[in-house]
Amino acid sequence: MIALVVILVVALFFIGIVNRTKSLLGGRVGPGLFQHVHDVVRLFRKGAVISTTSSIVFRLAPTISFVAILMACTLIPFGTQPALLPFQYDVVAFAYLLALSRFVMILAALDTGSPFEGMGANREGIYGMLVEPAFFVVFGSLAILTGHTSFTELFSTLHVGSGGVSILISVLAVYVILQIAMIESSRLPIDDPKTHLELTMIHEVMILDHSGFDLGLIMVSSSMKFALFGLLLANFHLTPSAPLWLLLIIAFGVNIVFAMTVGAIESFRARNRMKRNPQFILTLTSVAVLIYFSVLILTNKLVL
């Protein structure tokens, strides 16, 4: 339950911090920390313009996508505090819920008959598919390391401070998950939410025709997705022995650092060429495989 609350709170300020970091590094003050919250509230109050080409799929998709992300949130624990709905192998469900969200949003994009949204949909499908092996190999490796297969159990035993051997693994895992978060949330270097050019974007261009309440829901979903991965990263740092208030500080601290990292990455580098993206994502898989072999060596399963 705490996890869900933390995710919702982080979702409130995450994008704000990313944008503030970017604008400060760009020499500007930038919008307020809660600008996107205002945006969402404004969108919730608005009416909508709906394409005559579109159908029920277009209207239903943001709802399903939002619920999928919400359900994914119920799988994430908070340190030793179990998740709302933990079960064995919920790692699989987590990945598939994100896939469900992707699936319906792709369909909604294709429903409009727009070439831009088709373009975004096509890219989203491919990059989403390519990123999954890395996710599964990392969590499979962590499962080998800890002997547990659900987020709740996994994070109750694993954290950066839990022992000498697992620090390296945790650091690598944090790196991979950070990158997965960037890809899933359509940020640099795969996608750029800021350019606002129809031809170069992925996620933003898929929602070109959404407006009003639905657009608000989509924005909430993407904020929550960020917070979801933020909490996942934070879980690596939540030592079970610490009191709750300290854990909360750590969790928010990790998320703030995560947001600032995202902002910094987006300031200091350019986006990938679209055709280089698959290669980039596959590199991530190879890091995941590296984690896997490190785990095998650490657990004395692979003797060199």
Binding site: V49, T53, F87, A93, A99, L107, L110, M129, G140, F213
Partner: protein, 631 residues
């Protein structure tokens, strides 16, 4: 037409009813059924009983759909054609049951051939089209190559053991090299199951067959290939090696199938390749179960078998939904080419709704039966990763990566099928004039979907009900926490569906008073409303095909614009997606064989003197060889 098939439907229902009763009894009591008919013994253990139920469900769904589907058939058929079709349908149903209750290789061979021939006749329904004829002939040829495998096995076993009952096969395998009997049989089963690289008949045949037959073949008949592999795998005391081989073949099949599904623009071929993928996943899981048995890991084994059993059920139901939707679209628009479709959701909402639900299911997304059937496969995969042996652990990694890649590809394939085919605007006039067929066509689809939904929310219940089957396969009891996990997943799926409903209601409430304006899709101010601006089936697949070019075979016919050509003339762009194996391996092989035979035909000059010469040469050679003491 309609009347003849209605008779077939009734007969099929009767067969289903008659055979389901003993099958259910077997499942409930756990006692095998057996009967002697003449000198032949037929046996149905729990696995056979399960397969009988799968066959009956699939056949009844196909029969119910077929009645209405054929009534809407635009081409007139002669009475002979109708009767032949109906008879073949019933024969296929019966033959499939025969296959799973056979207990010796002779009857297996007999029913196997009956199954091939009856399905061949069903595929030939559209024999007036060259494509259907070619596909059907290809099919029957390849099936016979497979059937030779069974004959070879019969030869080996009967010469060594003096009989061909399954128990003798077991004894033979125990006393000889196992692969001698298993390999020829495996060729037959792999051919039927459409396993890579023997899958090439499958897409063409499924595309050519009438839709109720495609659904039946894809949902049920090819599963009998997997049945054979499991049955004979178990008979020959499966080893880890056999498991590994099956796992690898399964992985190759799954990935090859789904990548090629993305490349297809024929809706039914896309579905057929997706069937190849799902057969790959099933066989991969079978391999996993054999491996687990070899290393004595009961949890993994049970999880893998649960995956197999649930996936067979799920795929049978969902593929029926999908192929029947494809059939409705074909009847409504007279085309299967996705590049000619689009916007069907406005003209055929009933059909497209089912296509959407089926697409969610086949992509194994949460809330569907596909998710619960792939979930145990993931369990076995991740659990295998955690095993102590590095090589076994890596097999686990491969299977998990395959599952998630296949899932990711399936999302691309089915967003393509639905998004390009049914959503957006119409690319040609065909979808504009289409309309939903009579509701009775959709009745079996909703029935199948209802079944799939039931699996989705109560997988634990199914696994409990099928505990006998799982026990028969693994000789182990289901671990309690596997059941709990599956129960939780089921509840989670139900919660997901309910929460979607609640949020949707809240959204409706929140937007009730808000103004909604309608307008054209945003086109940057150049509002032309042209379907040309939409992604096509070809271009939607382009990026994936490019990344996956080593396993796909798409030829592009297009004259490139010369760099110096400033003002290019209108030109056309065409692609043709072929099967890599059929195009690069089998076709050249067939052409080579044909060429050799043609060359030999020179000998057949029709001139009596030449033949006398041949006889003379032959005698001389024999004499010389005898003298040289070679012979």
């Amino acid at each position: 037409m309609r009347l003849t098939f209605m008779v077939a439907c009734v007969v099929s229902l009767v067969i289903a009813f008659v055979t389901s009763i003993p099958a259910v009894t077997v499942l409930v009591t756990g006692m095998a059924w057996s009967a002697d008919i003449g000198s032949v013994t037929y046996v149905a253990d729990s696995f056979s009983a399960f397969m009988v139920l799968v066959i009956n469900t699939g056949s009844v769904l196909a029969a119910l759909y077929g009645v209405r589907y054929l009534a809407d058939d635009p081409d007139g058929r002669s009475l002979t054609e109708s009767i032949l079709h109906g008879t073949s349908f019933v024969a296929l149903h019966a033959a499939m049951i025969g296959v799973v209750i056979s207990s010796d290789l002779y009857s297996l061979f007999y029913f196997w051939e009956a199954m091939s021939i009856s399905s061949f006749l069903l595929v030939l329904f559209d024999a007036r089209q060259t494509k259907a004829r070619t596909a059907a002939i290809r099919y029957i040829l390849q099936m016979h190559i497979g059937a030779v495998g069974i004959l070879v096995a019969i030869g080996f076993v009967s010469s060594a053991m003096g009989g061909v009952t399954y128990s003798l096969v077991h004894d033979y395998a125990a006393s000889h090299q196992t692969w001698i009997v298993l390999l020829p049989l495996a060729v037959a089963f792999a051919m039927k199951a459409g396993l890579f690289p023997l899958h090439s008949w499958l897409p063409d045949t499924h595309a050519a067959a009438p839709s109720h037959v495609s659904g039946l073949m894809s949902g049920v008949m090819i599963k009998l290939g997997a049945y054979g592999l499991i049955r004979f795998g178990l008979l020959t005391d499966p080893s880890t090696e056999l498991g590994t081989v099956l796992l690898v073949i399964g992985i190759a099949t799954a990935l090859f199938g789904i990548v090629n599904a993305i490349g297809q623009r024929d809706l039914k071929k896309l579905l057929a390749y997706s069937s190849v993928e799902n057969m790959g996943l099933i066989v991969m899981s079978v391999g996993m179960a054999f491996i687990a048995r070899g290393i004595d890991a009961p949890y993994i084994e049970i999880a893998a078998w649960s995956g197999v059993v649930l996936h067979i059920l799920h795929h049978m139901l969902i593929k029926a939904v999908l192929f029947q939707s494809a059939g409705n679209i074909l009847h409504g628009t007279h085309t299967r080419d996705l590049n000619n479709l689009g916007g069907l959701i406005h003209t055929m909402p009933g059909t497209v709704n089912l296509l959407l639900l089926g697409g969610l299911g086949i992509s194994a997304l949460p809330g569907s039966s596909g998710f619960v059937s792939e979930f145990p496969m993931y369990i076995s995969g991740i659990k295998t990763m955690m095993m102590s042996s590095t090589s076994i652990s890596m097999l686990g990694v491969f299977s998990v990566v395959t599952l998630c890649l296949a899932g990711g590809f399936a999302i691309i394939a089915f967003t393509k099928a639905i998004g390009i085919g049914a959503l957006g605007t119409a690319r040609t006039k065909a979808p504009l004039t289409a309309h939903d067929p009579h509701w009775t066509t959709r009745f079996p689809q909703w029935l199948a979907f209802g079944g799939a939904l039931f699996i989705a929310v109560a997988p634990g219940m199914f696994i409990r009900a099928l505990s006998g089957v799982l026990y028969g396969l693994s000789e182990k009891h289901i671990p309690h926490d596997l059941l709990t996990t599956l129960d939780t997943v089921g509840i989670g799926q139900a919660v997901l569906i309910i929460v979607v409903g609640i949020v949707w209601l809240l959204r409706m409430l929140a937007t009730r008073t808000k103004p909604v304006a309608e307008g054209p899709t945003w086109g940057c101010g150049f509002q032309e409303g042209d379907a040309r601006i939409q992604y096509t089936a070809t271009t939607y697949a382009d990026s994936t095909i490019e990344i996956m070019s080593p396993v796909t075979d798409v030829s592009v016919s297009y004259r490139h614009i010369d760099p110096a050509d400033m003002f290019p003339r209108t030109r056309s762009y065409h692609t043709e997606e072929k099967d890599l194996i059929a195009n690069k391996v089998f076709d050249p092989l067939a052409i080579g064989v044909e060429r050799v035979l043609r060359a030999l035909a020179v000998l057949q000059s029709g001139n009596m003197r030449s033949y006398i010469l041949y006889a003379f040469v032959f005698i001389v050679v024999v004499v010389v060889l005898t003298l040289a003491e070679v012979l």
